[in-house]
């Protein structure tokens, strides 16, 4: 597994992602600057980490989504290569058109920073195969714009095709109108593209890989990718 982490100005979770990848794969991920036009040769996985690219100017992820490297990321995805976007990375993938929908301002207008339970909705993908279907895991969330929306037809298609990766839930795995911390439709916390090789999610699995800092529920995601 050769991984590349894309670094945009204002991104701040690249070190966390690198640590999680190192732990899972035993290999050092490449760090690729946004102004590059090509990915390093032989890259299997591209990760867009969290942060505040371009200070969230215009719309979250909008300017990063038009960076030179994103053409190469799009080509990589079109070839079936794996792409993971976390938090701001998820917003960038939506803005780039690699994932459907938009992440709007949290419905309560507050930045949310807390631990959050999510339910694994599809455990048959390269990102989630080390989880059990329906497994309830605890990730950290930290975002102001995680309110996922898309038009009705898109939501119907995402749901029918099993493209919801994770849903916000309570500790018992129950999903309801009151379990979405940010107003996201159907409590969607993460979605796949139509080929299941691109995943975007608001929670931070890369921060749950060490028992010293809150738990290890995020390890299975990186272990799935490394398997």
């Amino acid at each position: 597994m050769r991984a590349a982490i894309i670094l945009f100005p204002g991104i701040n979770r690249e070190g966390d992602v690198a640590r999680a990848l190192r732990q899972a794969t035993g290999a050092e991920p490449a760090i690729v600057w946004h102004a590059e036009h090509e990915l390093p040769p032989g890259v299997d996985l591209v990760v867009l980490p969290g942060g505040f690219s371009y200070g969230d100017y215009l719309r979250c992820g909008a300017i990063a989504a038009r960076a030179p490297i994103m053409r190469a990321v799009g080509d990589h995805a079109a070839r079936g290569g794996l792409v993971l976007g976390v938090c701001n990375g998820f917003q960038i993938l939506c803005e780039a058109g690699l994932l459907p929908g938009v992440l709007m301002r949290n419905s309560q207008l507050r930045f949310i920073c807390k631990m959050q339970h999510v339910r694994v909705e599809n455990a048959q993908t390269p990102f989630t195969r080390r989880y059990a279907p329906g497994q309830v895991v605890k990730f950290a969330i930290a975002h102001g714009e995680g309110n996922f929306i898309a038009d009705d037809d898109t939501i119907r298609r995402i749901e029918a095709e099993g493209r919801v990766a994770f849903r916000y839930c309570d500790i018992e795995g129950r999903v309801g109108d009151d379990t979405s911390p940010n107003g996201a439709i159907n409590s969607i916390a993460g979605v796949f593209n139509d080929r299941f090789n691109v995943l975007g999610l608001m929670p931070h699995p890369e921060n749950l890989i060490d028992p010293l800092v809150g738990g290890t529920d995020g390890r299975a995601l990186f272990a799935s990718l490394a398997a």
């Binding site: 215009l58 719309r59 803005e95 938009v102 709007m104 301002r105 419905s107 309560q108």
Partner: protein, 79 residues
């Protein structure tokens, strides 16, 4: 040539920021407001003086960056 691009949320999209501003204005006892929705304004200077060309370039700017047409509409005004 000067132009103004106005980007607004589609009416079907909830605007919690507009709602919060609406609430604050009502708190200031500014009467007679039934609703507030927030948008963005871009003042853009263009080379040349052909309106049709300017409109085409600004449309491209909106479609490719200034607006996310999944949730936003845009309007172009050329001075």
């Amino acid at each position: 040539m000067k132009a103004r691009v106005i980007v607004t949320l589609k009416s079907s999209v909830l605007d919690p920021q507009g709602k919060a501003i609406e609430g604050a204005l009502k708190g200031l006892a500014v009467d007679g407001l039934s609703s507030v929705r927030q948008g963005k304004v871009f003042d853009i200077e263009l080379d040349g003086d052909d309106h049709a060309t300017a409109r085409r370039k600004l449309s491209e700017a909106c479609e490719r960056l200034l607006a996310n047409t999944i949730v936003e509409n845009y309007a172009i005004e050329i001075a």
